[in-house]
């Protein structure tokens, strides 16, 4: 499956990764070669094989619905770039 310049820009936008046209061209070249390597998978017949998501195939463990976390907001916000009154600050979203 050939990769196009627009695919790289689309992936960059979906990933919220700033990329200019030159950088996109650079990654187009790399990703094209990586995908060519990955395309070897298509030569293997996997009809009827269940996908394996996890090496141990465990199921999600359940626990009682009890509060186990305490409020540590101040502590966790100490490493935030900008906070005020317990809120994370970002550029204005609604005018």
């Amino acid at each position: 499956m050939a990769l196009e310049h627009a695919d790289v820009l689309r992936a960059a936008h979906l990933a919220r990764l700033g990329l200019d046209d030159d950088e996109a061209a650079h990654y187009l070249d790399d990703l094209g070669r990586i995908l060519a390597m990955v395309d070897q998978l298509q030569t293997l017949d996997t009809e009827g094989v269940d996908p394996l998501a996890h090496p141990l195939e465990t199921t999600q463990r359940l626990r009682a619905d009890e509060v186990t976390e305490t409020d540590q907001r101040d502590r966790f916000q100490r490493c935030a770039p900008a906070v005020e009154q317990g809120l994370y600050l970002v550029p204005r979203v609604v005018e």
């Binding site: 960059a12 070669r33 990955v38 070897q40 094989v49 394996l52 626990r63 994370y88």
Partner: protein
Amino acid sequence: MHDKTLTELAAGLAAGEFSSRELTQALLARIDRLDGDLNSFISVTAEQALAAADRADAARAAGDAGPLTGVPLALKDIFCTEGVKTSAGSRMLDNFIAPYDATVVEKLRAAGTVSLGKTNMDEFAMGSSNENSFFGPVKNPWDRDAVPGGSSGGSAAAVAAGLVPAAMGTDTGGSIRQPAAFCGITGLKPTYGRVSRYGIIAYASSLDQAGPMARTAEDCARLLGAIAGHDLRDSTSVARGVPDYTEELDAPLAGLKIGLPREYFGEGLDPAVESAVREAIRVYESLGATVREVSLPHTHYAIPAYYVIAPAEASSNLSRYDGVRFGHRCDAPADLTDLYKRSRAEGFGEEVKRRILMGTHTLSEGFFDAYYKKAQQVRRLIRQDFLDAFDEVDVLMGPASPTPAFDLGARKDPVSMYLQDIYTIAINLAGIPGISVPAGFVGHRPVGLQILGTHFAEARLLNVAHQFQQATDWHLRRPALAEETL
């Protein structure tokens, strides 16, 4: 003291030959003298280390010492460590002071060990040479022109250079075993789920696993016992008892059935590496093991499957770095989208961006089935190859890497770098444990023998590795460091 094993240092501490403070001071001085050029540490936490050493000495004086009390070690800079910068080798987290301890860190602290600092690594553990670190490449102590391997390159180099007797690493596609091989040390990747991933900065969550890197299998056995176990905070950690991994170390190997995967001795394997590995296998035969060839028929598909699954998981895991809650934030963002895009563009390095783009692309609409679902189907076939092989043999052996450490700057093309992990990557897809042990040299550069076992066979792997180390002395060789004569 720097050329002793962790086991010897623990015995010295227990016998009162030296205090943890003396040992810690000696190693801190050594780091100060040697690491400027090696660059194996991102942060040296001397003050915290000395305080921990004093606590260890006080505990010993009070009769409260455990087997690892006062033993120094280092942590890959991917383990969250409360109050200490935890960067994952990235500019994104250069300002991140972790507000909590990873479970591994908590357990090592509770065991009384003394962390001397945080070791260098490929950014977010993505790399096989440690050249992808924001904090600069690490040099291989055996040959300063060579890479130490990656992504746990700082941990491997620090142990090889005698800066610490042991260090913690993580392994998603070979990141403990390959640098252990390149630096001539012993490195164990446990079974997926054996060690809690809580507080380990995530790369690919269905593959990531932490493990010890040290001089000997015996040292690794002691450390694995300290860090393994079920953790309520990691739902993928396995509720299964932790054995005493040192108990079986001395079991004789007579009758051990070794399988050599045909696909691990084929095209691309450096003949000098192959000859060292074959010689190691002859040592096992002399210890009473039997050897036969086996096949892992889907080996060829492991790297393609990994480079779908790992970047897909990475693109999802790394979406948390948004410039809002922690980590790097760009200056003067115009709006929220600009804040996200520029913070991430500035914070992430080239390889990380490549994998985010790759993962985002393969997971996006129209591509998911062809890539991600296909790779997960292939993953099942790869795991089945190993399960079938372990029906016939007890362990598999082969080279950890097709070549010895390559030159710094030699692998510019990402695909050629990825292919370097041909013998390690399938192990993570299958979730089985693997260990690399020193097995010779090509010139000055070490060769690693990789030993693989079935799920939760760590005790057996450590036994098999330990018996080799009783019969050989490759693990006792030390690099000649020019600065030592200063």
